[in-house]
Symmetry: C2
Subunit: 388 residues, 2 copies
């Protein structure tokens, strides 16, 4: 067996390094013996890799446990605080931001209201403020960020430009990637908000176990995010999930059944009426129950089209209306059963208003996994990756 | 650098073996030097691997080229004829079968008509006959097969049982996997026919370059097969693609606009009327053109729902009606443009009636790739794989 190894050794060394990093990211702190076992490497090889990783700043030694017997074994941890990511959710009424470390541990979050009627410049000013406050709250600056994801309504191109936003017309054409890039280091990714909410559900929400998920944003607008084979589905030109644009799907008119409810006091803002309908339906008001039924019926046509097309394991009911899942879920499930060949499980989101910003954080982390912690790439000393 | 390699060497040897096999499958015949270069291995390592592969029956030496100068270099080829796969398409009117070798080279095909009104036993007898004739035509027996895929209309479970067939009601409940397993060696896979036609298009059809494809079966029934991220999309319980079951999608009534055309001679079988409508539309008959327009409109509602949901690169118009693409394509594209955020390319299938059987062959080959030619599995001497 005198197999000439050629270029295979440095490749092997790279794989060993990543095996150690992955072991420490799964569980920390670990002793040398534990790392070697978890990474499936010899003790001397593990020691060499750990020495390099410590010198580079990826790994730190942990202080010995007080009171332990004999000479305590040295223990190692992955330095998740070597870098940070930022998730920003730009909604119609609110802008949110969350900072997390490389392990997805949340460090700080901020939010600010913005009028749905705000112009583009005003909304961008609020975005800047929320980002600055969120970084300051975490004790960081933009230079500490390794990746940022910005979530927005509408159809976004690969460059980070909003191609079309029906919900916020003044938003169409804004180059969010460019705007935010001026404020942070590392790559800035821009992504559709429904898609990121779906991703958040597979990360920290009710869809953690599912590979095929239809996420419904049920609120003052209706949207969808798709997870297929465990991955966010974007489509060929990032326009996937826009099934609601087809009038036959019922999503354009669905919320009007609630906004137009006649039981609210005259002069109530239609957006406010919705909460009143749900409350009245909860109390058994017949008119309110009928309005909810009509809403659910229209919501379920588009939802059934997605279920029939994709056969997901799970439908997640998210968005603002998911707070009224007690009123919505049962009739919604019944409508799906009427229409579908196989009815999937339906669960309400438990992430509340943070779903989109959480998804943005996860999306930024996934980008780093792919570009930094992947066997295809070497592992250099920790620093913000270059912009693509 | 005294890295202990432990279990890594035999793994390396396995990878080297597969690198040689992949090199020879990409291009054959090759000299030793060419194989070493294509597999990115040293000459001695390549020689050792080739010797083993030849002894096992995976690789054969090719006779030296007549008339070449000097002592001709030995050349090697992958033995694609070490095993074969079978694809069977059980349709309403016809049963087809194709045998191919491990490189997907087609060896023989057979077809037989069957009445759409045939009972289950009669249809299965035709299936048996076509399989036997196809194998005989290729000079093989069932024992030579390494994998078989059977295509059928309807929703099929993982065991190979038809859970629901709307097109062929007597077919619901038939255990196709079990039936065909008695006639061939190796695993028998059963799969929905629209899905396999979509797969065929990505293999030898118009969708070769596309990662996201919506395939439409446009014929006496309307169906869909989805390719997402380069892979056939089945969904959680293999029920994906059934969007046509939703009445709002227009697919249930679509073909009735053609079958019900009033321009055909009284008493014509409605299924026969369709060809007459297309011919009359081609000649500019107003009534026929209107019927085609109504059909296209309904076809495009469901198609738009899929396009809006998935944002494919390409829509393939397949099925029996795709022979009239000259009449259908332009109005169909126009309807999509009206409804979609981004209109993909639309191409008619060029595979004709063989699409489903070809897809079945490809599906069986993919199964072998995954279970035999994958780095995760060793490579034993060529013989039919065990049933799962």
């Amino acid at each position: 067996m005198t197999e000439p190894l050629g270029g295979n050794l440095s490749r092997l060394r790279q794989l060993n390094t990543l095996a150690v990093v992955h072991a420490l990211r799964r569980q920390s702190p670990l002793t040398l013996t534990e790392v070697a076992k978890a990474a499936n490497l010899s003790r001397p090889a593990t020691e060499e890799v750990l020495r390099d990783l410590e010198a580079q700043g990826w790994v730190a030694q942990v202080d010995p446990v007080a009171g332990s017997m004999g000479r305590p074994a040295r223990r190692y941890r992955f330095r998740a605080d070597a870098g940070h990511v930022l998730g920003v959710d730009i909604g119609g009424h609110t802008v949110r931001a969350i900072v997390a470390d490389l392990d997805g541990e949340l460090r700080h979050s901020e939010r600010r209201s913005v009028s749905v009627a705000a112009g583009r410049a005003e909304r961008l000013r609020v975005v800047d403020k929320v980002i600055a406050e969120c970084l300051a709250g975490a004790g960081l600056t933009g230079a500490d960020l390794w990746a940022t994801t910005v979530a927005t309504t509408g159809f976004v191109d690969a460059d980070g430009r909003v191609v079309l936003s029906v919900g916020l017309p003044e938003w169409t054409g804004v180059h969010l990637g460019e705007h935010v890039s001026g404020r942070v280091s590392g790559p800035v990714l821009v992504e559709n908000d429904c898609r990121l909410a779906a991703l958040a559900e597979t990360w920290r929400g009710v869809a953690r176990y599912a590979e095929h998920v239809v996420y419904l944003l049920a609120g003052l607008r209706t949207g969808a995010g798709l997870v297929i084979d465990g991955r966010l589905h974007r489509g060929f030109a990032r326009a996937a999930g826009e099934i609601g644009a087809l009038p036959e799907m019922g999503w354009i008119r669905a919320q009007e059944h609630l906004r137009g409810w006649s039981g609210a006091p005259a002069g109530t803002d239609p957006d406010e009426v919705v909460a009143l309908v749900f409350a009245a339906a909860r109390d058994g008001d017949r008119g309110a129950l009928a309005a909810v039924r009509r809403y659910v019926r229209d919501l379920s046509i588009g939802a059934s089209a997605l279920v029939l097309a994709l056969d997901p394991q799970l439908v997640v009911l998210g968005g603002g209306f998911s707070r009224s899942a007690d009123v919505l879920l049962e009739p919604f499930h019944r409508e799906l059963e009427k229409r579908c060949v196989r009815t999937p499980e339906v669960l309400p989101s438990a992430l509340g208003d943070d779903a989109v910003a959480l998804g943005a954080v996860k999306h930024a982390l996934d980008h780093l996994e792919q570009h930094i912690f992947d066997p295809g790439n070497g592992l250099a000393a920790p620093e913000p990756p270059q912009r693509p």
